[in-house]
Amino acid sequence: MFEYAPAPESRDIVDIRPSYGLFINGEWVEPQGEERHKTVNPATEEVLAEVAWAGEADVDRAVQAAAKAFPVWSAMPGAERAKYLFRIARIIQERARELAVLETLDNGKPIRESRDVDLPLVAAHFFYYAGWADKLSYAGFGPDPRPLGVAGQVIPWNFPLLMLAWKIAPALACGNTVVLKPAETTPLTALAFADICRQADLPPGVVNIVTGAGETGAALVDHPGVDKVAFTGSTEVGRLIARSLAGTRKKLTLELGGKAANIVFEDAPLDQAVEGIVNGIFFNQGHVCCAGSRLLVQESVAADLLEALKRRLGTLRLGDPLDKNTDIGAINSAEQLAKIRELSEAGEAEGAERWSPACPIPDRGYWFPPTLFTGVAQSHRIAREEIFGPVLSVLTFRTPAEAVEKANNTPYGLSAGVWTEKGSRMLWMASRLRAGVVWSNTFNRFDPTSPFGGYKESGYGREGGRHGLEAYLAV
């Protein structure tokens, strides 16, 4: 392995305030309660800022602000709404470096990923949906599709700003107003986005941001003034939300967990497949709902592929997320780290063989080395439960039918990968895999024009593309 000199990104570019209030009706306001929460840098455990914990009264205030802004925003000509969204997209591009550093500080993901993946996609989503705002009559939902009203949106910590963009851009394009709750461990880029809304002169109340934990989210989801709920996160919480919305007229979309199979056939280009497997499970420390966490490899090439994969894992660099050479950053929180450890220990206890490359772990912060399990059976917890960490389970198969059977043997159905040089086999596989996204000879690709979302217990509704508009229109 080559030695690299560290190449740290400067963090001087970001200005983090010691304390943040809530963003309601275009203003920073103090919460009614006293409770505050510290958000930390998971790579150093350094406290970055204190954020407010919104209670029911605060959520109510935010929903009312959004409801008040709705008539104005929804009646505005689509072309004008589009211009606001284009403005936001441009400001994000201008401030991309700052936002990437901020995201990396708060989330722990490598700067290489926040800079090269998250931020370009965030801007692209606002650009894409900006263009829809004045073309909704062409979207296939009738000549005059109407917005729903106030959208209550709850997003996770793995892609904080990108998930915000996925939620806010289509909601605003369709004429809805928004109350968004970012994840408790990663609120900073959402709060920076509040500032961007002000910079864009977005009318007050169109976007409101309330910080807090599960209780704040529940207060938002259950608020009677909310007309639409959008949630991305765990299947467990998704179930709770679906249950709590039973009997209401609120429209619901859910993007939940996954346990994706990445299927490698013997004719696959092995070197490319290895890169795809690494990208599939180690991108963003495996904190990806569609991560390729189950490798299904055809028995005839399993030994060769595993050898190549292990060799490749030996070259991954884990450490300072602000270092541009870093491949694997920090686990987002102590809680998440404990969960990854618990499931990995279960993997060993159930008889799978655990392997990690020699990998120095920093003294402070939350870290987990890239880990690979072989000898995994379908019944093992590591093959069934979402780990949401850099842990890959390897299974084998002999025939395409067996690969389909094993790949679909999960309550989840978010994504899948197929590696083969034979086009007809790829299409045969793709048509049989019960998953919302199938990546063939690639993995973990995202684009605002491409719908994303799951089958089965991975949730319902799609984000992205024309399909993503449906969640925010009365259709």
């Binding site: 692209a124 296939g140 299947t235 998704g238 179930r239 709770l240 679906a242 249950r243 919305l245 039973a246 009997g247 007229r249 859910l254 939940l256 309550p411 790829m426 299409l427 793709a430 998953a435 919302g436 996204v437 199938v438 990546w439 063939s440 000879n441 690639t442 690709r445 684009d447 024009t449 491409s450 719908p451 994303f452 979302g453 089958y455 089965k456 217990e457 949730g459 319902y460 799609r462 593309g465 024309r466 399909h467 449906e470 259709v475």
Partner: protein, 288 residues
């Protein structure tokens, strides 16, 4: 010579293409609007519902894998067979009361037309809902609709034929299979429809029809882990909330009960189809 004694029909369930009695041995009396005895109908149990789900699951790979052309032809065939039994349906609908012979005839005609309308959707819904996505990179990227799987349907209590067909056809035309709970009060057209389906080249198990109490059976279907979607159109308000809560367990796709009375003669739109469709997006690199 005495008047000839009528041969009365025994009404049964429709599961997996066969007509079993309820496993529970129960039946209930169906009466006309005037209270006259019409028939005994089977009263399906939890076990019948589970058998019906198993039959629907078994039929799913074949039906969802059939060509759209084939599915469309079969739906059209159902319309043909239904038209052939026009007189029987008219008699059954009028016996239930509320409508005269002329109006019942119009409803049967509308039912036939509805089937013909949906038959044409089988090979068009993919073009309307699918898309080729212009992603920013060298990838071929295509989204297409796919059936959700096994769908439980609580058919409307009113509109025993038109309402029934209007909730079944959109579910199956796209490749789903279903378990339907017929109108409790007016189940006769549902069983006759089963006979139509059984002779329409529709593979056994694609549509399974249960008669009995929706309030009793629907929660078992709503909580069934091998059911992927539920249409609560005919559920009463209280039962619908229970079912929706149970459906959350495996995140079934839910079509909530309508806010008000449904005009089954109106243009149905595509919402009943899209509720039980997934979108699959396939990415493939472009290169040489």
């Amino acid at each position: 010579m005495s008047e000839r004694l009528a041969v009365r029909k025994t009404y049964k369930l429709f599961i997996g293409g066969a007509f079993p009695r309820s496993e529970s041995g129960r039946s209930y009396v169906v009466t006309s609007s005037k209270g006259d005895f019409l028939a005994n109908a089977a009263r399906a149990s939890r076990k019948d519902a589970r058998d019906a789900v198993a039959a629907a699951r078994k039929a799913f790979p074949g039906w969802s894998g059939a060509t759209a052309y084939n599915r469309g032809q079969i739906l059209y065939r159902i319309a043909e067979m239904l038209e052939g039994r026009r007189a029987q349906f008219v008699a059954e609908i009028t016996a239930m009361g509320g409508v005269g012979v002329k109006q019942a005839g119009e409803m049967v005609d509308a039912t036939v037309d509805r089937l013909v309308w949906y038959a044409g959707w089988s090979d068009k819904i993919g073009a309307v809902l699918g898309s080729a996505n212009p992603v920013a990179g060298p990838y071929f990227n295509l989204s297409s609709p796919e059936p959700t799987g096994v769908v439980a349907v609580v058919a409307p209590q009113a509109g025993p034929l038109l309402g029934l067909v209007s909730v079944i056809a959109p579910v199956i035309v796209t490749g789903n299979t279903c378990v339907v709970i017929a109108s409790e009060r007016a189940p006769l057209p549902a069983i006759t429809l089963a006979e139509v389906l059984a002779t329409s080249d529709l593979p056994g198990g694609v549509v399974n029809i249960l008669t009995g109490s929706a309030a009793e059976i629907a929660p078992w279907l709503a909580g069934h882990m091998d059911v992927n979607g539920i249409d609560l159109t005919g559920a009463d308000a209280e039962s619908a909330v229970t079912c929706e809560e149970l459906a959350a367990e495996n995140l079934k796709r839910v079509l909530r009960p309508p806010a008000g009375p449904v005009d089954w003669l109106a243009d149905p739109g595509i919402g009943r189809m899209t509720t039980f469709l997934e979108t699959k997006t396939v990415w493939h690199p472009i290169g040489i």
